[in-house]
Every structure is written in structure tokens, then in C-alpha cells.
Symmetry: C2
């Protein structure tokens, strides 16, 4: 069984390669950056993970998950997301903080416990941030969504928030910007990089900068 260190590498590589065409490789530098490690450390580990069959490492090219690594990574993701939902739904923790908690717990829960949680939550398909939860079979289907920052005026459904920063999440909830919310992009000022939003059920319109809107993935209504 992979150590929790290995699980973290695999999870990160999976995240980094999501959205890229399947043939694309992830560079050591990006992994180092994401995990807050030095590049040399990552190189060493990549060679190790290649030897273990988790991935294919080509020097100066990058890294690509092999089936074994893909499976392991998806299972970690499944754990992580189920735990987040569990913490929110059952333990009533604030959605702004569950990511950090899940980061630790994902390496400590046995399959038995994960299965119970899954059952208890009714085999959910999405976590509190709108991220899809892979099934026990390891199937992860990512819907293609658009960042709100790239949308033009119109009405959208907020589906997913791809940022874990607690302060940001707290602010979002205060604005009613939670997955499932219906949000109207009333106006955008491309030069200033600011969008004017209104959330259905919310009192007033408010402004949001392009970077902050980039973490919000929406579906056209």
C-alpha cells in the first residue's frame, strides 16, 4: 500500500493533469510548486514512483500516471471528497474548513469506514464544493464547466468552486455563492477586470474580480 506521502504525490499529479489531454505530461516543477517541495525532491520521488509502476517518468519531459497510479489517486480523491461531505453533513463543520481536515483524514480512514460513510450519505455524487465524488469502482467523471470569469452577461448555475482557501469560501457563502446557486452576471468591465453579479435570493448586486470569478465554475442556465 502506498504511504500517505505517495498518496499525496499521486493525488496532486491527478489534479494537475485533469483537463489536460490524456497524452500530456505533468512537469516536476509544477508538482514541486503544488506540494511546496524543492524540485530535486520531486525528481527523486518521480524515479521512485516510476520504479513502483505508479507512473511513467521521462527525464526532462515529465510524468504521466499509469493505471495503477491513476487508480490509487482516484481512490484518495474519493476518500477526500466523501470525508469533506461527511464533515459538513454529519458533523456540521463549516465548509470553509473541511478541506484541511480531509487532507489529514484521507490517509487514515480504512475502506470499511469509507464505505460506511458513503452508505450513510446515500452514495453522493458531489462534495460540498461541487467536486464530483468518484465511485467505489474508481470512475471519475468530470463535467466540462466554464469559469465565470470567461462568461458573458447572462444567467448561470454555480456548480463548483475550485479553491479551498477558508477566507475565500467564507466570503462566498456570505454572498450566497454556493454550489447550486443561480447567479446572474449583470455586467462586466473587461478593462477593469471586474464582474457585477447578483445571486438569486440575495439582496443586492456585488462586484467580484476576475481571479476570484475564475474559481467559480458554472453551467449555462
Amino acid at each position: 500500500m502506498p504511504t500517505s506521502t505517495v498518496e499525496n504525490y499521486l493525488k496532486t499529479i491527478l489534479r494537475l493533469s485533469a483537463g489536460l489531454e490524456p497524452a500530456a505530461m505533468v512537469s516536476p516543477g509544477r508538482i514541486a510548486e503544488a506540494l511546496n517541495l524543492t524540485p530535486g525532491t520531486v525528481t527523486t520521488m518521480m524515479k521512485h514512483l516510476d520504479r513502483e509502476g505508479y507512473l511513467r517518468y521521462q527525464p526532462r519531459q515529465g510524468v504521466r500516471l499509469r493505471p495503477k497510479g491513476q487508480r490509487a489517486a482516484v481512490q484518495v480523491l474519493r476518500r477526500h471528497r466523501l470525508i469533506e461531505l461527511f464533515l459538513v453533513e454529519i458533523l456540521r463543520l463549516d465548509w470553509a474548513h473541511v478541506h484541511e481536515e480531509a487532507e489529514l483524514l484521507e490517509h487514515a480512514l480504512s475502506d470499511r469506514v469509507v464505505e460506511r460513510i458513503d452508505e450513510m450519505l446515500g452514495r453522493p455524487a458531489y462534495d460540498p464544493h461541487g467536486d464530483p465524488i468518484p465511485g467505489a469502482d474508481g470512475v471519475l467523471r468530470e463535467e466540462r464547466l466554464r469559469p465565470l470569469s470567461e462568461c458573458s452577461e447572462g444567467v448561470y448555475e454555480l456548480v463548483r468552486v475550485v479553491r479551498e482557501d477558508p477566507e475565500y469560501l467564507t466570503w462566498l457563502r456570505e454572498q450566497g455563492l454556493v454550489p447550486g446557486a443561480q447567479v446572474t452576471l449583470e455586467m462586466r468591465d473587461r478593462l477593469a477586470g471586474i464582474l457585477l453579479l447578483k445571486v438569486r435570493g440575495g439582496k443586492t448586486s456585488f462586484r467580484i474580480g476576475e481571479p476570484a470569478a475564475g474559481w467559480l465554475l458554472v453551467r449555462v442556465c
Copy 2:
């Protein structure tokens, strides 16, 4: 903060010194045995824990927890026992298996989560095996109980089971021998080392050997 390795040492030392008069020291050998390590490894770690102020290590004498180590150990125990109860009560896991799970989780749960669990369970005083759960203040009160193996004929209340082996626990439950059960020691054969028991509500009497009865701690009815 102590690493989970350190937490395990402290927890074990606490367990080993429970029941001993406060002045008594725990020997490295027993710690090594309990943790399945070589004696040399334990010696090394004891010197380290002494330097860190968790305990007092006197070469060739043994080891005694200092307040700092005692506090840390009790907190681990609290986590462990709350988790066990949580797994049984909320997640409906079998009491035979929750110990192993808790062993892992006790190092991964944040204070925030532990507090929520405690609240959710109504600030419980005992875990599924009848072990007392220390309060958040670090107070652990152990009631003095007698092993059933040292009792004479009579009626007793089973309060606590001090063995974690899943098979043993499963067998126990099949016999109705769970904390809170009223059990009658009908007869004992000291030469053969066998006791004849009857559990209130159970159909028939059954036999149990002295070692197995020694893990059952009872209160006189």
C-alpha cells in the same frame, strides 16, 4: 506538537503505568514489548522524550510520565475512546473492529472534529468497551474494578472489557457479555481454571477459562 510516534509511546506508557502507584516506573522492556519494538529503540526514544520534557528517564530504572507527557497521553486516550464510541454509535461499526480503526484515526483528527464528536455523542463517559473517556480538561478517573477471574460465585455487573482482540470481542457479544450485562458466576472449578457463567437474558450457561475471564472487569451487584 508530538508526532504520532511520540503519541503512541506516551499512550503506551500511560497504559502500562495505570494501576501502579504513582511513584512506580515503567521499564523499557515492557514498552518495547507492548509496541513491538527492540529495547534499543525504546532506550533511544526515552532519552529523547526526557529531553523534550515528556517524562523522566532514569537509566536502568525506567521511565515516569511528567505532567506534560501525562497530559498529552490522556488527550490521545480521549481521542481514541471518543472515536471508538463514534464509530459504533454513529457509523454503526462492529465493536470488535473499532479499536484498530481508532488506532489510526486518533492521530489524524483535529481538536475541532474531536470536540464535535464529543458534543454529538452527548459528552459520553464511557467507550464501547467500558473504558472511561477522559474529559476535555484531561481528567481521567479510573474506577477500581475486579477481574471476573478473581471473583467467587455471585452476581456481578460487567463494566469493562480490557482486551481488543476482534475474535474475542465477537465471541463475547455472541454470549451477551457486553458492558452493562448482568452476569452470574454460577460455579468455578479452580483446579481446571474454568468458570461457569450465565448472562441475564441469555438462554444457557456456558464455560469460560480464567485468562478469558481475566479481561472482564466487574462490579459487585
